[in-house]
Symmetry: C2
Subunit: 402 residues, 2 copies
């Protein structure tokens, strides 16, 4: 393809947001950020370009392979940020090291993830999210889950489910049933992909008792209301520590106090793909969207990579997915009625005065850029979907509604 | 430097926005975009990553050398967008080809410009701007300049000047005085850099009459109110076309009708650095900032590169510069008073109810994540700059003001 034709195209995995959609995206992002602010979270913004070492090394499993990388003028490897959690950990360990704990931080912006071989996968993803850094308490877990629910509600989504799990439960179960570390990783990978067919085949090959096999496969059914925690406890042998279940129980009680428990479903087979989660994990789902609209959890080891050993919990919301769902459901009202102000010879000053008056009232106005007849003005206004037309002449003004 | 230490740093030319600043930046960007919307401009958003060919070739003089480039998986050269005008021209020529003209489009987001050897120069720049595509009228020129003024006012800036010129004037003058094309480019470059010392030295070497020399140097003094246009006309020989001055005169009259002429200063030596401007050009300046806070003008040839030959006019505003100036001038009021809600044993449910009530009223609330004594809560609230403290116990609640 020639450069001339390519100039008219956008690369795979990125897209243009056209009039209407782009404004609605800003509206959703602002509402979500306002909700974060109501919970005391303070916005920060980190650069799109960082040293790649901010994102490489331990606990980066999923991200490292998806980095957009390029060298700077001194040969250092730079990367487009694939995530906000790592940069916010950097901030917590540097500029914000002197602030009172826990830190409550939030963000909204794009991340870039290079995914070859996955046709149609978005590579530029708009995210908003929070990180609560410096508290390992259950109250912190509950606050972050409650805020996830409140953010979706504020954005205009009313029907959704937040699935809540704990990476410790499956870990404990695998350990209690004598599954080797390698086999455990593979089992977790099947849970992560929700590939229960392969899971079943694989578990059949494991050198464990039939009861253990039934227990492991039983986790796939541990989805639902609070009773799931009792079913889960039954899979653990007597004497096995059940700290993860106790924490989830207490988290649930707090989510009831937050008034959001009706949105929560337990899912003890939930294993988030990022390998840095250490406790509670959650994902938000809504009908008609094949991906989670948000995801998060507790990650108590990540900050240590940045030299500041602090527990942390947070979530990120995919604004593109959220926008898509909200547009499909028609939750956006009609925007403020556009006014088309036009003029014929001698009416320009009057038209400009009208436009100024209306804009001062907060109404969007297109002021025509050339003199026209009233009939032409009406046609122009119709082309632009204006709800009202004001046409000024030397002698006065004429108002009409479309 | 080790990767471990680099992980804590940000690269040259980019920066973190800390709590407070990041929120104020969002506030400024939203106010500016709301102003664009009041003038009927519709927001669009284009990807950060494009084929580099969108930005290379003709009329890209300043940008091509500053592209962040990297190959994609098929060896095509990608670039981070260095500007929004080229992508919006692409949109006008593709997705928006069927819409009524003129198109009024706006945007807000980051651009990236790679500048080696310029220590301290920002490489990630937050911009907001508009493009009015499909009208060559003076009314379009005036609308865009008026909108630039209104945007700065809406953002909270009250003292600033918009310098207004026309690239055609200097062009006509150089031509009328028989300056060669090469010499003319060099003269324009000195005007662009406002390097009047070198300009004077260079003009002295030109093979033109003394009167011509005086005329060319006289342009440097053509700054000020409307009278400047008459002084400018006097530099042109009788019979030379004075279309650029006539347009500026008419633009001025419309800016008076827009009620913004008090912010306008003519500057006929203004030559914007981008080589695609074809008519009126302008830059916004405010005291204490060594760069223009905004710049724009008419560019009637750019759209042709994208296969759609349309006149256009627009401007871009540097949100980082604007934010810096606004913060220095202390225009941001005190933010909504933060409330710190804490609890001692037995008071948690009451504290959560308080937090919910306050948040419903739109007040930002930090809900403590652990039980504390009232004294500890007061100290915590003070650390966070909360204006009000509510401490709940099993028996009731205590309210205090910091």
């Amino acid at each position: 393809m020639s450069d001339k034709n390519r100039r008219l195209m956008t690369p795979d995995g990125v897209r243009d947001l056209l009039p209407g959609t782009a404004g609605r995206k800003r509206q959703v992002e602002n509402r979500v950020l306002e909700t974060f602010s109501l919970f005391g979270y303070r916005e920060v913004a980190t650069p799109a370009i960082e040293y790649s070492s901010t994102f490489t090394g331990e606990m980066n499993g999923d991200l490292e392979g998806k980095l957009y990388r390029f060298p700077d003028e001194r040969g250092r490897t730079m990367a487009l940020r694939p995530d906000f959690t790592f940069p916010l950990a950097r901030l917590a360990a540097t500029h914000l090291a002197g602030e009172a704990l826990p830190l409550r931080l939030c963000y909204g912006g794009s991340v870039w993830r290079y995914a070859t071989g996955q046709q149609g996968r978005q590579r530029e993803i708009a995210q908003a999210g929070v990180e609560l850094i410096g508290s390992g308490s259950i109250a912190a877990d509950a606050e972050v889950v409650a805020l996830a629910v409140e953010s979706l509600l504020a954005a205009g989504l009313s029907e959704f489910t937040v699935c809540l799990g704990h990476v410790g439960f499956l870990q404990t179960l695998l350990c209690a049933h004598g599954v080797t570390k390698e086999a455990a990783e593979r089992v977790k990978a099947y849970f992560n992909r929700k590939d229960f067919v392969s899971l079943k085949e694989y578990v059949a090959t494991l050198a464990v008792s039939d009861r253990s096999r039934r227990c492991l496969l039983g986790v796939t059914a541990l989805r639902g209301g609070r009773g799931v925690l009792d079913e889960a406890a039954a899979l653990l042998s007597a004497g096995t520590e059940r700290d993860s279940l106790d924490r989830l129980e207490e988290t649930w009680l707090m989510l009831e106090e937050f008034g959001v428990s009706r949105f929560i479903t337990f899912d003890l087979g939930l294993v988030r793909s990022l390998d840095y989660y250490t406790g509670m994990v959650f994902e938000g789902y809504t009908a008609g969207l094949g991906f989670p609209v948000l995801g998060g959890g507790r990650y108590d080891r990540l900050l240590g990579l940045f030299g500041r050993d602090l527990p942390a919990v947070g979530f990120g919301l995919n604004l593109d997915h959220l926008l898509t769902v909200l547009e499909r459901r028609g939750v956006f009202g009609v925007t403020e009625a556009l006014v088309f102000v036009s003029y014929s010879a001698g009416g320009r000053a009057g038209a400009m005065a009208e436009a100024r008056r209306l804009r001062r009232e907060g109404r969007p106005v297109i002021l025509d850029v050339a003199a026209r007849t009233r009939e032409e003005a009406l046609a122009e206004a119709r082309n632009r979907g204006a709800g009202e037309v004001i046409h000024c002449t030397a002698g006065g003004r004429w108002t009409g509604n479309e």
